[in-house]
Symmetry: C2
Subunit: 495 residues, 2 copies
């Protein structure tokens, strides 16, 4: 590796969970005497629903240590096994492996093992209950596929950064409903894979053409690139992949989008390229920047609409007037009055007002967990049905060979989070398959095993001390199967 891990900005960020909290006001609004920060365009019932969801998911992981401590304290009691299962069932909603409890009297409980088991069980439970949990808010998000279709987009492909703080992007920050037409693929620094993206675009466009009756030539494919920054601590807690240099993060997003559009133009002809939008997220407040392209279609780093500023400006107004001011501001900023882009920008900014108020009300104006508090590492592809801010460290990869640098950082973070306390590092190795493609499932399972083996080889000392616990799972891209455990007896077949 050409760069030393200890200099990785993610780790610098961790060292700097500074005393600066409270120093900076939320630019949208601060709750105080005579100011409740309730904006006329905010959907308060949706906010309440999302908060309920956040609490449910957070509790599943937060209660693990409490439950295990209780169980640890009674391991020499009579009827220990039954009591332990009762505690676990009541607090976490599932049971522990009977055999691991039954042998406790011999060598004591293997707590790191049970802890990792629980992290994966809480994850699996959250995925299993995703439909139920998400039903609370799913139908009320303002930006659904039909709404985006009315704005002119048949498909929306979003590339945020892989940073844990953006894992709740879709329903929270953007208020977009998860759907097959909306895909999110996260990459460190939002440096998405252009070759991979061309393939995604090609597949979406051809599937639309193949399905002639529904074909509407006026619709387009939208590529969104989402960079992020930290208003509290710009040089430390910005995007780690860009060394917290916001200028670099923005330029990278703009360049990536423009390179993709140019590549598709070159490959498929002028006008074939997708529409593009660059967004920025302040991960302290979830405020959104919308970079509208100028008259020549160029996106500029310093030209954007800021949701927090617009929130503050329209806060004192009535609903109709606030809406009108928002529309006026977007139209004034759009030097090329493309109706689709204008409608989308208005929709995103208005939707984000709700998220700004959410952070103000439920997180005291700024998130407290600016440091790392992840529960597990996800290596491979992100779990689609979980929307959790800062709950897992995500290393997007196909092979450890390609993704080693990001994985090294994750291991370093968990060395401090877990190993220092005697716990193991739980790693979910997760890949998607397309059930419509024969053999795809088996290939995804083989990939899980191959990546697990490579992880164990790379971190051999940790593996030999049982300090790494891998959990292998695959999901059907069509959504009928989510995070299905891979049989561990599977042997990697070699061609």
């Amino acid at each position: 590796m050409s760069r030393s891990i200890s200099h990785h900005p993610v780790l610098r960020r961790q060292a700097a969970v500074a005393q600066r909290r409270g120093e900076l006001a939320n630019p949208a609004c601060e709750i105080g005497p005579g100011q409740d920060c309730r904006h006329p365009l905010v959907d308060e019932s949706l906010n309440a629903e999302l908060h309920r969801y956040e609490t449910i998911i957070s509790q599943r992981f937060l209660l693990i240590e409490a439950a295990l401590k209780k169980i640890s304290a009674i391991q020499h009691d009579d009827s220990f096994v039954q009591k332990a299962q009762d505690i676990c069932q009541a607090m976490l909603g599932y049971c522990l492996p009977e055999d691991k409890l039954a042998s406790a009297w011999v060598n004591g409980l293997d707590m790191p093992d049970l802890h990792a088991y629980c992290v994966f069980q809480s994850l699996v439970l959250s995925v299993q209950k995703a439909n139920e949990d998400r039903a609370i808010w799913l139908k009320n998000l303002p930006l659904s596929s039909p709404v985006l279709r009315d704005m002119g987009y048949h498909t929306v492909n979003i590339s945020p950064c892989a940073d844990g703080r953006l894992q709740g992007l879709l329903p929270f920050i953007l208020r977009i409903s998860p759907a097959p037409e909306i895909s999110v693929k996260a990459f460190a620094g939002a440096r998405f894979d252009i070759e991979d993206d061309i393939a995604d675009w090609t597949q979406a466009e051809l599937q639309r053409l193949a399905n002639e009756p529904g074909y509407d030539a006026s619709l387009n494919y939208l590529k969104c690139v989402v960079y992020h920054f930290s208003s509290s601590s710009p040089c430390v807690e910005g995007c780690a992949a860009h060394g917290s240099d916001d200028g670099m993060a923005i330029d990278c997003a703009i360049e990536g989008l423009s390179a993709l559009q140019a590549a598709i133009r070159n490959l498929y002809g002028l006008g074939a390229e997708p529409d593009g939008l660059v967004l920025g997220v302040d991960t302290d407040t979830d405020a959104l920047r919308v970079h509208l392209p100028d008259g020549s279609g160029t996106v500029r780093a310093h030209q954007f609409l800021d949701s927090a500023q617009l929130f503050a400006e329209t806060l004192p107004l009535g609903r109709v007037q606030a809406e009108q001011v928002l529309i006026d501001r977007v139209r004034a900023a759009a030097s090329n009055p493309d109706a689709n882009t204008v409608a989308l920008a208005i929709g995103l900014l208005r939707a984000n007002f709700s998220q700004l108020q959410y952070v103000i009300e439920h997180h005291n104006g700024r998130y407290t967990d600016v440091g790392h508090d992840e529960k597990f590492i996800c290596a491979g592809e992100a779990v689609a049905s979980l929307h959790l801010r800062n709950k897992y460290y995500f290393a997007h990869l196909s092979t450890v060979e390609e993704g080693a640098a990001d994985l090294d950082v994750g291991i370093k973070i968990f060395t401090s989070l877990n190993l220092s306390r005697g716990l193991a590092i739980p790693i979910l190795v997760h890949f998607f398959f397309d059930a419509r493609v024969s053999g795809a499932r088996q290939r995804a399972e083989q990939r899980c095993h191959r990546v697990k083996q490579a992880i164990q080889t790379r971190y051999q000392a940790l593996h030999e001390r049982h300090q790494i616990r891998c959990f292998l799972a695959v999901s059907d891209i069509g959504g009928t199967e989510n995070v299905t455990p891979v049989p561990s007896s599977y042997s990697v077949s070699v061609h």
Copy 2:
């Protein structure tokens, strides 16, 4: 790894370069009294051109050791450097690095280093001269893109096995002209990557649709899967990836094709799937099997037309009559008389007659190099403009993590071929990029470096003893740049 290298069938094959040569007659024809094996449908001038090409390419590699031996013998002579360069230039067509010769008087010549240098130089020279060398035969191959288009195919995608004995597939065995519409991606056991193939198909189809004026709905995409076997020694020298089990090799080709067609049907609708053809090659004689689908579109392992048998049957006839018998046989075998498939089968079989006669005339009816005689390992993607039988060992891979098993076999083979004689193992790490996609070249170069680093890590002992020499190169998929060396100063950037 789940399988021991020493049991790898490629190595078993190596151990069994048996005394059996001459035991088996060529089933197409044997030259003997009253029999010259000249078939009326063979293009003899094309055969002469291809033989000239084979000789040119072979000599470039064969003369390396002779040249270096001569140079070694005179290393203490006066004016050694000039004499050495004269020898190298005369025998190989290029010079050696001046500094390596000039310092010979200190520690002697580093022959393993010069040997690896020459292998790569001969390779680069062959690629540089590819247009010139191939011009001899390129325009005379019977199956050009326009001819295939007339048969109903706008694109032909061929997946042979990665076995070195099939590296001359296109111009020699199939007599198809290399062209952008004809792609060859080799995989061990012809087990092509279905996800990757779907992406190739999607891109080709969408590019066709994007280019509306030239769109012809009657044309289709042809997917060809090519398995191989050995008539001389079926259980030892067949397809290594299938343990020389011909039944497995055939079934795998049929299943792969059928899985790809089903996947595309499922993804894009009935009728969207490409046409398919399964071919088999006898790597001892280059005889071709053409498996025509039956009335229901099913390809069967035991239903095929055999070019050697048809060659023998039509050998005594006149040109017109031979042609008619060939056409009759193909039509009789095609239970579903699809005009495209019939025309293609006739074209391939007739073209292969020339190759059968080529092997009979120039390789005494059966190839002598049934064992390994490769000059280098190619790791990554195959070089498109070189058509050499059994000249390099090919490990198709994107990462060493995924391709380690095949690479292990290559290292084992070269341990015996080169290390045992004090020479190093030359490894070409080669990847393609698409110049129309911004940044693609840089990403391909990074991949070269990453794979090189992974090779050096995996074979650390060999690397430390300088027994592995990597040469990194990239090629533009559009063909304007071929095997361009990657600057070695490049540092792998980490996101």
